[in-house]
């Protein structure tokens, strides 16, 4: 296969300031346009791995390379622009509770300075995709946990990222909805977006028939 590598982990170690070792010697190559699942027990380091890619954490040792360049080469002022390539779906969706669903999803577009008419169109499309087309005016506290998670998903995909990193995106969803959301991710993957999903849900993960990476908890 000739597809180029988009993400590469080279002997990555991550030890948190608390002394907790979260990742130990991780080597991993992900090709552009790939869809892949990361599984493992709670505390195995799934979230940590995704955070390293989005530069929400830095490795203690080793390198994470994107398009062949170590992330440590990025200068501080380049980081925002890099993050806009990524749609990050947090395990806890990190919504803004004083803004309604529409405004939450619109944030990445506002940041990139898109004109209001385009924003309208994009946000509504993204919310339709996660089945929240009718809840645009609701506030996060008026939504169920699953709905909030879907707002987070809509916000992650609204800016058409080249990489989607999803941390337990279906954790709060019923099986049917979970299947739908996975399907949505697969659609993005079909148009060339690289998708990384951390998930506990073995049944769901296996049904998608994609590459699966299993992280083992570091026991010392």
């Amino acid at each position: 296969m000739t597809t180029k590598t988009i993400i590469e982990f080279r002997q990555v170690h991550k030890r948190y300031p608390t002394g907790q070792l979260a990742l130990y010697n991780v080597n991993l190559t992900i090709r552009a346009g790939e869809m892949l699942f990361i599984t493992g027990n709670s505390g195995a380091g799934k979230s940590t791995l995704l955070k390293l890619i989005a530069l929400l954490e830095n490795p203690s040792k080793g390198d994470v390379l994107i398009d062949g360049t170590p992330l440590s080469y990025l200068q501080a002022r380049q980081i925002p622009n890099y993050r806009r390539r990524i749609g990050f779906i947090f395990q806890d969706p990190h919504l803004l509770y004083d803004r309604n669903v529409f405004d939450n999803v619109a944030m990445p577009l506002l940041i990139s300075g898109m004109p209001p008419t385009d924003i309208n169109r994009r946000v509504n499309a993204a919310l339709d995709k996660v089945g929240l087309g009718k809840k645009t005016k609701s506030y996060p506290l008026m939504l169920s946990a699953g709905e909030r998670q879907r707002v987070g998903i809509a916000r992650a995909v609204v800016n058409r990222p080249t990489m989607i990193l999803a941390d337990e995106p279906t954790g709060n969803l019923d099986p049917e909805l979970a299947q739908d959301i996975m399907h949505t991710f697969a659609q993005f993957n079909d148009i060339g977006v690289t998708v990384l999903i951390a998930s506990h849900d073995h049944g769901l993960v296996e049904r998608m028939q994609k590459r699966i990476i299993v992280l083992q908890r570091v026991e010392l």
Binding site: G68, T69, P80, H94, S112, G113, P115
Partner: protein, 327 residues
């Protein structure tokens, strides 16, 4: 070493009009957002605005006061005069010649001759004096040359003034020089000091405004830490994060400036009537002036800048700290 490639999405840097549009959208967003913040937090906004307005009112009103007093010392005021009482033998013609001569001095703006006949007529108009004058028989009054000096060329010290009068006394036609302008001289000297005091007060209260705005913005940042963190996670630049706070500071300064101008103007309205009555009693054409356009714009520009700087300091401090912690 791996080959270096642009990790960040390459943006069409040549497309200036697109960049400009993005810039405009960002400004609009920030203006919109910051105004809404003010509107929906009326209590904290008003407290800050009133604090700013009060702090700015003091130097502004002092400045207006000093300016008004300064206008008294300007050339165009008819009040300050020097009168040359001429010797009794001096004729009207000689008086006119002397007036011409004096007028050519650089310190002199204009001269008029009041002949003894005119002076007598004036005196007769004053009730009760007419009878007294009759008993004198002959007109006892001398011809007078009234000088309106150029205050700006006269210098500010008493010595300057004495110098000038000494020179006037050397004319052989002059018997006596009477000065009405000593108080103006003193006033000028006092106003020079007053101007310094205004400057010091203004500097102190400007610092107050800076601190008040800075603190308000700091609290606002504190309240929106989560939001800042999230926007950062989804790719907001520091500039983007900073922008609405800067506008917030700008509005506080600008509106606070407006409010202080309102306060000072209202205070002046209360003063106008009594002051004008007073100056009429003294035969002065002095009028209490309000805040002119230049001063208005100056106050607004200064207060807006103070707001902007206060916000800038608060945001940068926060961004600097949060970058070190790097959550």
């Amino acid at each position: 070493m791996p080959e270096k490639k642009p990790l960040a999405r390459s943006q069409p840097t040549n497309n200036l009009s697109r960049k400009f549009k993005v810039w405009v959208h960002h400004q609009q967003q920030a203006i919109d957002f910051s105004l809404k913040r003010l509107w929906f937090n009326p209590i904290s906004a008003w407290i800050t605005l009133i604090a700013i307005a009060l702090a700015l009112s003091l130097p502004t009103s002092m400045h207006v006061l000093v300016k008004n007093l300064q206008s008294l010392t300007h050339n165009n005021q008819s009040v300050p005069t020097i009168s040359l009482f001429l010797k009794p033998k001096v004729t009207e013609q000689q008086a006119n010649d002397l007036a011409e001569l004096v007028k050519s001095q650089p310190e002199v703006l204009s001269t008029i001759v009041v002949t003894r006949d005119q002076a007598l007529q004036d005196f007769k108009k004053i009730a009760g004096l007419a009878d007294t004058l009759k008993t004198l028989g002959e007109n006892p009054l001398p011809n007078i040359v009234v000088i309106t000096p150029k205050m700006s060329d006269l210098g500010v010290t008493d010595a300057d003034l004495q110098d000038f009068t000494k020179r006037l006394k050397t004319y052989k036609e002059v018997e006596d020089v009477q000065i009405d302008i000593e108080w103006i001289q003193r006033l000028r000297a006092i106003l020079q000091i007053a101007e310094r005091i205004v400057a010091v007060v203004a500097a102190l209260l400007a610092t107050t405004v800076l601190l008040v705005v800075g603190n308000t913005i700091r609290l606002d940042i504190e309240n929106r830490k989560d939001e800042i963190r999230v926007t950062r996670l989804i790719g907001a630049t520091n500039r983007y994060i900073r922008r609405p706070f800067l506008y917030g500071g700008l509005w506080l300064g600008l509106f606070g400036g407006f409010l202080s101008l309102l306060v000072v103007n209202i205070a002046l309205l209360f003063l106008v009537d009594p002051v004008n009555k007073l100056s009429m009693l003294y035969g002065s054409d002095f009028n209490l002036g309000g805040i002119d356009l230049t001063t208005t714009l100056e106050v607004l520009a200064i207060s807006a800048s103070l707001g902007l700087i206060g916000a800038w300091l608060a945001v940068n401090r926060y961004l600097w700290e949060s970058e070190i912690i790097n959550d």
